[in-house]
Structure formats: C-alpha cells, structure tokens
C-alpha cells in the first residue's frame, strides 16, 4: 500500500484542497482498504485503492456541504504542500508557477466533484481512460464526457487570469 500512498494522498489533496482533511481521508481510505481486502477481486490494485479514496473524498465533501467550515486557504496559502518549488526555475518563474498552481487549484475546486476527480486522475496523475474508468467505477463514455466538460470549464476559468497563463493562453482572445 505504501507504494500507492502518494497517488492516494495526491487525489485527496486535489479533491479536498486541505492538507489536514487529505491526510485524514487518506488514512481512512487505507484503513477501509485494509478492512475490505477480502473484497478485492483482482484488477489494478492502484485503481481499487483510488476508488476507495475517491468515495471517501465524496463522503467528506458531502459532510462539508452539510457543515461548511473548511476554506481554500490551506492549499492556496503559503507553505501549502502543493507549492513545491522547482529548483531549476528562477525565483520569478517559481513565483509565477506557484501563483498559477494556486489558480489552477481554485479552478479545480470550482468543478463538480465528479468532473474534478476525472480531471485530477487523468490530467494531473496521468491515469489512462481505462484506469480512471476502473478507479471511479464509471464507463469510458462517462470518463470522456466528464473530462471534456471539466477541461472546458477549467479553460474558461483560467482565461479570466490570462496574465498568469503561458503563451497559448495569453495570445488568444
């Protein structure tokens, strides 16, 4: 399980935008996987784990909807686990990248949880359509549909902060 913990934690962090909640949900997901290991029927183990984590995230988001108390400051503020500096970049580039990263995360949070999960798994974590389909227990058609809608919505949101965006965004209106 340890080999998959970064993938599970990454999904939870992008889904919940809170490092504390992501840690709690990741731990819950691993415990749930441990309890339900008898129900694992083969297939890609990572996809099975990610499905449990995605369900745990959905439960957490539903809980939040009932009792809203978490802000995005956790991942959009300084020292966020999502703001990992790239040492090969200049300070200016690094600052711009951090800003863009926060902007993208805010855009991800504006998507519906269903679309967000597909975009995170497919585009951020690099899973194939088939893996996403298995992880989220949805059809390939649904993966394609949610991904295209999520990308289109995210594109619209990012275009509102055109100055942060790289070349293709900045030169088109």
């Amino acid at each position: 399980m340890e080999t998959h913990q970064d993938a599970v934690y990454g999904l939870c962090l992008r889904m919940l935008a809170s490092s504390h909640a992501a840690e709690d949900v990741t731990q819950d997901a691993f415990l749930a996987a441990y309890r339900r290991i008898d129900s694992y029927r083969g297939g890609v183990f990572r996809a099975w784990l990610l499905r449990i984590a995605a369900n745990a995230c959905t439960d957490e988001l539903r809980r939040r909807q009932r009792r809203p108390q978490v802000s995005l400051d956790d991942v959009t503020g300084d020292g966020s686990p999502l703001d990992l500096p790239d040492e090969s970049e200049s300070p200016e580039e690094s600052l711009l990248r951090t800003e863009l990263s926060r902007h993208i995360q805010a855009g991800l949070m504006a998507l519906s949880p269903d679309q967000r999960a597909v975009v995170v798994l497919c585009d951020v974590q690099g899973l194939s359509y088939e893996e996403v389909s298995e992880a989220l227990h949805i059809s390939l058609g649904t993966v394609k549909s949610r991904l295209s809608r999520g990308r289109a919505r995210l594109r619209e949101l990012l275009l509102r902060r055109r100055e942060l965006l790289p070349h293709p965004f900045r030169h088109t209106v």
Binding site: M1, E2, Q5, D6, V8, Y9, G10, L13, R14, S19, A22, E23, T26, Q27, F30, L31, Y34, R35, P81, L82, D83, L84, D86, L100, S101, I104, V119, D123, V124, G126, Y129, K144, S145, L147, S148, R149, R151, A152, L154, R155, L158, L159, L165, P166, H167, P168, F169, T172
Partner: protein
Amino acid sequence: MRLLGFRRHPVSEEELSAYLDGRLPTAAQERVDAHLKACTDCSRKLEETLSLVAELRRLPRATASRSFAISPELAAATRREADRARQDERATARRAYLGLSGATAAAAVLLIAVLGVELAPSLGGNGGPASTTPSSREAVGVTAPQGSGEADKALSGGEPDENLAPEAAAPLPSTADEQGRSSANATPAVATPYDAAAAAPQQAQPVAKESSHLLLWIVEGAAGGLIVGFGASAFWMRRRWIQINRS
C-alpha cells in the same frame, strides 16, 4: 444541422478533448484533422486545451508529510473494532429475528382466533342450525324468525301472546309465492302498532351482524398482511444472521 437558426458545430468539445488524447477512431480523427485546418476557433480551443493539460501535468506532485502505512497496533485495533461491530450486528440481527418471529406467531394466533369467532354459531355464521341469514330472511319477507319469540316479547315490553296479530303468529310461508299470497290476504297486520314497534330492532339486528362480519374480515385481512410482512422480514433477518455468523 440547422435547428431554430442554431447551427451545430461539426466538432464537439468532447471530440476535441478525445482528439488531443488520441482517443478518437481513425475516421473521426481524420474528420477533426480536416476541420481544424479550416476552423480557427477550434484550432485555438485545441491549443488552449493542450496548454491547460500540459499545465495540469506540470502541477507539483504532492507528497504526504507522514506515512499512512498501517502499523501492527493500528491493524489490531481495526480488527478489534471490526469484530465488535460484527458482534453488535449479529446481536441486533438475532434480536430482530426473534422479535419478528414472535410478531408473526402473534399475528397467526390473532387470525386463528378471528376465524374461530367468525365460524362460531352465536354470531349467525353457517354453524347455527336455527339461524337464518339476513339476506334469506329479507328474500322471504319474514319479520319474526322462528325461535325469536322470547326476544320479541322482551322488545315489545312483555305484552301477552293474545295481543299478537293472527298474521304475525301464523306459520312461516315456505316460498316467496306463498308469502306474496299471505301478505295480500293480511293487510291489517301491516298497520298494527305491535309490528311498527317490533320492526325497528328486527331490522337493526341484520345490520349489526353485517357490521360485525365486515369488522371480522378487516381484522382477518390485517392479520394475514401482518403474517406475510413479519414472516418475510423474519426470514430475511434469519438469512442475515446466518451470513454474519459465517463471516
């Protein structure tokens, strides 16, 4: 396609998204290729989406600040918790099964009791040899059934037998034709004060019997429904209990 002045774009957003992932069938891929050469909007959209996907892939990979490996202590605690939950569930299923079985038995007893009451002669069921059903009595037009003279006396305030009209004391006609003839010959009997006084309670008696029959049927139906409902639930709960015991 033109629909109410709206022209649908030949390449959808979904096709464009699948195109950049190389997930379109060959024919569709070629169609999108050809379209992109002519449509600047789609070309721009594709370029922006490609750039977006590149940025998403470049996002920093989050690494957790701690390990989520399940320690032996945590594993033992999880097992204990799971065992406790299973025991609780088993106890709940057993209690529910026993309760539902008892409720099924009680409903069965109620149904048997109601059937016994319905079939008893005292209520005018088929078991009473001297009784006549209200409908048969109405068919022959009888106002005073055999054997109810004592009750009639009591109802009429203990009047002596000699006050009875001869027509009322006459033997019962056996068929409707005979009754028709006798009623045609006995016009004064309809107008006697005795008959007017006795008619009301005698008409009320069949109505009361009908009501009691209806009530019994309702109770029987309810008891039957409860037996089916409780029985099915008890069966399902027993299966659940066995499943938990096996797990």
